[in-house]
């Protein structure tokens, strides 16, 4: 069993591995980063740190997360802090991580970001790998 944080992103429930979650916050004002790709909503101050805010919807190739979204999951990738915007959060619970069912055709960014499935009371949920949501870790940007 593994701990997962259940969240809603782009209207869908996802399970985020708890080990990737630094904290859960409501972010303050976001400073835009001109010239940056669309998935970068901007920068915000979190305590005395600067975190990069990710427009999760855009990062996954879906509709942009609304401007009003404030709730975010803080994660750290390669030494940098990111705030991954979510629609809403539920709670943390242990689940068994299952492999992605074969033949499941995922589109958009889901394919890159999903790393498994969990079964919550019969409802399957994708396991979202936060490091894959952060655009810099998408292959196109590695170079």
């Amino acid at each position: 069993m593994e701990l997962f944080l259940i969240a809603h992103i782009a209207g869908r429930g996802v399970a985020i591995p708890a080990e990737q979650v630094g904290s859960v916050v409501d972010i303050g004002d976001v400073v835009a980063v001109p010239q940056a790709e669309a998935a970068i909503r901007g920068l915000t101050a979190l305590r005395s740190r600067v975190v990069t805010v990710i427009d999760t919807g855009t990062a996954l190739g879906l509709a942009p997360t609304p401007e009003t979204a404030r709730r975010a999951v803080i994660t750290q990738v390669d030494g940098h802090d990111y705030a991954i915007l979510v629609d809403s959060l539920e709670d943390v619970a242990p689940f068994e991580r299952l492999p992605l069912s074969s033949g499941l055709a995922l589109n958009h960014g889901w394919a890159a970001a999903a790393s498994g499935l969990v079964d919550r009371d019969g409802e399957p949920m994708l396991v979202l790998d936060l490091t894959a949501v952060v655009p810099s870790s998408l292959p196109a940007l590695v170079a």
Binding site: V31, V33, P34, T44, S48, Y82, L141
Partner: protein, 784 residues
């Protein structure tokens, strides 16, 4: 040297502590090779350092111990108890001496011979000397890992930011004087702490320079050159990390100077230089930068060779090179792949070129500048920031956003409002002309999609490729910021250099000047050509001084006419003998004034000169030096106005110096001396002298020492002394005595003046070699 000694002491002490376990183990098992090696390494290191630091006692001891241990390692000797004891006695002794050096105490060396003889194979087990109880100087220094310092520094930065946030929250919510006082104290402590922590990272640049004498000695010996190294400013402090980062670039530059710069003694003598080359390495602090200067008196850089190399290696095309100015050509030495030397030597030819040197220095936010004096030497100045983590920035606003810009990259800030700045649209690109200097404009608002309003302020950003104007709405502030790298995809935009959290609590991005130029698609090579053309035009243009005249009008006068601008007391000006005159420096100069001087006590005057005569022009205020446009609308009326020119969009009258000088009975700046060979009647002094002085001569009746007259006057019946000047004879009668009589009637003023002028001119022509003493060299630019 003291630093090195301290380092040696600290290091030896540390090793000794670590070694104590090994020593005990070796005592128990003398054949243990690993233990033996550890002790051998220790004495070997001590021996090496001693030779360098000139500590002969330690050197002798460690040398003896090393010999014995080497014999053991080669199985020539068996490590018996006596040998082990003797070696250990020496190791102990080394420790004692080191402590004594540190404490500055004297230590008796009588027993050292005993210690060394005890090492001999046939030595009778000597009584191990009783250890002198040395007082260990309580150490006031600690050796720290740089990582720890880094963590301290970054912790400090976080603390500053946390304090800022706390201050902000408190400002927003409560206003309790106790809380405010506590916060105030915290702020002070934090600021103080930040200074201290910053200092812990500082190290004397001596750490970098102390290795240079040896390096220069070895390098010059290898190349058969004689170099005298002078090091200045080794007590300047610099961030430790920076010292490490500039170590290699500096070493490279110095090797280059010795290898490529300084010539062989024979060549130097042939070039009329002393056989020993001179290499000066100096460091000094200038603002928040450290300037490290390396100058040699060698042959300098042969720009033509660099250029032909660049052509040969196809780094640049002929056309590109044609468009380059000297500086740009010189900059080619920084080009990757360009080696100025035909044969690779062991010294410099190690595949590390100046391109790497420059890249390394720029990587740490520094700059490198060359000052080439072909045949006379090369000066390289490295600018490095004082510290890596705190950056001096200015804050600019664009739309609703704010950005920081590193101050070191900013050349100038100009407001668009003034008349000095003109914005042009060339095709779909924008360019600005700031005081006649044209450069591309990057409106940040448009580039960043933050609106398309016109910029209110231009920040002239200097990059490696060239300068450009960054259009922003406003410049708000200057701030010292703790800048951290931003996340990779923010950096991937190429326009940011980092992020920071200022007191406002809103994150802010640090702009990367060079990156913006790149993203905006500026191509400097093409523009550099345009700039050169502009420069060529400007050379043809005439520099002039713009000033406010006494009548309130703005006028301009060619700069070359002005000898200097100086304030004079109005009491020195008076209307005498039909004209305004200025008494200045013991001379009387005609003064031109277009308005009334009024009740001023002081007025600025332009001292004008056409080379040999002088006059003054009273003005209200000098404004600035401008360049005269080629077109001028000619004046309609007379007077000393040549016409009207457009300067900064305004019509400005151009003074006609020709008319000024033509209209005035001018006084020669340096008047030819006329020697009056006066008789006793005093007629010459009384009657002739004023008339001649009015015509621009200086009359003397007796020559001062070293004075040469331009012309001499004598009465036909008066005494005539032989002088090295043409003599004009005056007669008392109106009529001459015949054709042979070249004398002049003494009241025939026009004839006399003409004759004097003719003789002076003939004399000056004869003396052309030493350029006629009364013609003064025109000094231009003296008005600055």
């Amino acid at each position: 040297m003291d630093d090195l000694l301290q380092e040696f002491i600290a290091e030896t002490r540390e090793t000794l502590e670590a070694l104590s376990g090994e020593i005990v183990a070796w005592e128990a098992a003398p054949t243990d090779r690993a233990r033996l090696d550890a002790i051998f390494r220790f004495v070997h290191t001590v021996k090496g350092s001693c030779g360098f630091l000139d500590i002969p006692r330690l050197a002798r001891l460690s040398h003896a111990a090393e010999d014995v241990l080497a014999a053991v390692r080669d199985n020539k000797r068996v490590p018996d108890t006596a040998l082990v004891n003797a070696v250990l006695a020496i190791v102990d002794r080394i420790g004692e001496i080191v402590e004594a050096i540190d404490a500055g105490a004297a230590l008796d060396d009588a027993s050292e011979e005993l210690l060394i003889t005890a090492l001999a194979e046939d030595a009778t087990p000597a009584a191990v000397p009783v250890h002198v109880a040395t007082v260990r100087a309580s150490s006031r220094s600690v050796r720290l890992n740089v990582d720890l310092l880094d963590r301290m520094m970054s912790g400090m930065s976080d603390m500053v930011l946390a304090r800022n946030e706390l201050a902000r929250r408190l400002r927003d919510n409560v206003s309790d004087p106790h809380v405010d006082a506590a916060l105030e104290r915290l702020s002070l402590t934090v600021a103080d702490m930040r200074d201290t922590v910053t200092r812990t990272r500082m190290q004397k640049i001596d750490a970098l320079f102390s290795a240079l004498p040896r390096m220069v000695r070895d390098t010059s010996a290898e190349l058969g050159k004689a170099v005298n190294l002078v090091i200045e400013g080794s007590d300047v402090e610099l961030d430790r990390e920076l010292i490490e980062l500039i170590r290699d670039p500096l070493a490279h530059i110095i090797r280059n100077a010795v290898d490529h710069g300084i010539e062989s003694p024979a060549d130097r003598l042939a070039a009329g230089k002393p056989a020993t080359g001179r290499l000066v390495v100096s460091a000094r602090q200038s603002g928040n930068q450290i300037l490290i200067e390396i100058s040699d008196d060698g042959r300098g850089i042969d720009v033509a060779r660099i250029v032909s190399k660049a052509k040969d290696q196809a780094l640049r095309t002929e056309a590109q090179i044609g468009a380059m100015d000297e500086d740009a050509k010189l900059d080619l030495v920084f080009e990757a792949g360009l080696s100025s030397r035909d044969t690779v030597t062991t010294v410099s030819g190690r595949g590390v070129g100046m391109d790497v040197v420059r890249a390394n220095i720029e990587h740490i936010g520094g700059r490198i500048a060359l000052c080439n004096m072909p045949g006379r030497g090369l000066r390289i100045v490295i600018h490095v920031p004082l510290t890596l983590s705190i950056l001096s920035t200015i804050i600019v606003s664009v739309g609703t956003q704010r950005f920081a810009l590193a101050r070191q990259s900013i050349e100038e800030i100009v407001r668009v409002r003034g008349t000095q700045v003109r914005i042009d649209t060339i095709g779909d690109a924008s360019a600005v002309a700031v005081r006649g200097r044209r450069m591309p404009l990057v409106p940040l608002a448009a580039l960043f999609g933050l609106g398309d309003h016109d910029p209110g302020t231009l920040v002239i950003v200097s990059t490696r490729e060239g300068d450009y104007a960054l259009g922003v709405d406003d410049v708000l502030d200057a701030e010292e910021l703790v800048v951290k790298p931003a996340s990779p995809h923010v950096m991937a935009t190429g326009v940011y250099a980092g992020q920071t959290l200022p007191d406002s609590g809103l994150p802010m991005l640090l702009l990367d000047g060079a990156g913006i130029a790149h993203v905006a698609g500026l191509r400097f090579s093409a523009l550099a050509v345009a700039h050169d053309e502009a420069a060529a035009d400007s050379v043809a243009g005439v520099q002039a001084l713009l000033f406010d005249d006494l009548d309130g009008k703005r006028r301009v006068i060619a700069l070359a006419v002005i000898d200097r601008v100086e304030p004079v007391a109005t009491s020195a000006i008076s209307f005498t003998a039909g004209a305004l005159r200025l008494a200045i420096g013991g001379a009387i100069v005609p003064l031109h004034s277009v308005g009334t001087i009024g009740d001023r006590e002081e007025v600025a005057v332009l001292r004008l000169t056409d080379g040999d005569s002088e006059m003054a022009y009273a003005i209200a205020e000098a404004i600035e030096i401008v360049e005269l446009p080629p077109e001028m609308a000619p004046a309609n009326g007379g007077g000393p106005i040549a016409g009207v020119v457009i300067i900064g969009g305004e019509q400005v009258e151009l003074i006609d110096p020709h008319a000024l000088f033509a209209g005035e009975p001018v006084r020669r700046a340096s008047r030819p001396v006329c020697l009056l060979q006066s008789d006793s009647s005093g007629w010459m002094e009384t009657f002739l002298k004023p008339a001649l002085e009015a015509s621009g001569y200086r009359c003397v009746t007796r020559l001062a020492a070293g004075e040469t007259p331009a012309v001499a006057l004598a009465m036909e019946d008066g005494p005539v002394e032989a002088v090295a000047a043409p003599i004009v004879t005056l007669r008392r009668n109106r009529e001459g005595t015949g054709a042979q009589d070249h004398s002049i009637y003494r009241y025939d003023r026009p004839a006399l003046i003409e004759e004097l002028a003719r003789r002076v001119a003939a004399q000056a022509g004869a003396q052309q070699e030493d350029s006629a003493p009364y013609i003064r060299a025109v000094t231009s630019g003296g008005a600055r």
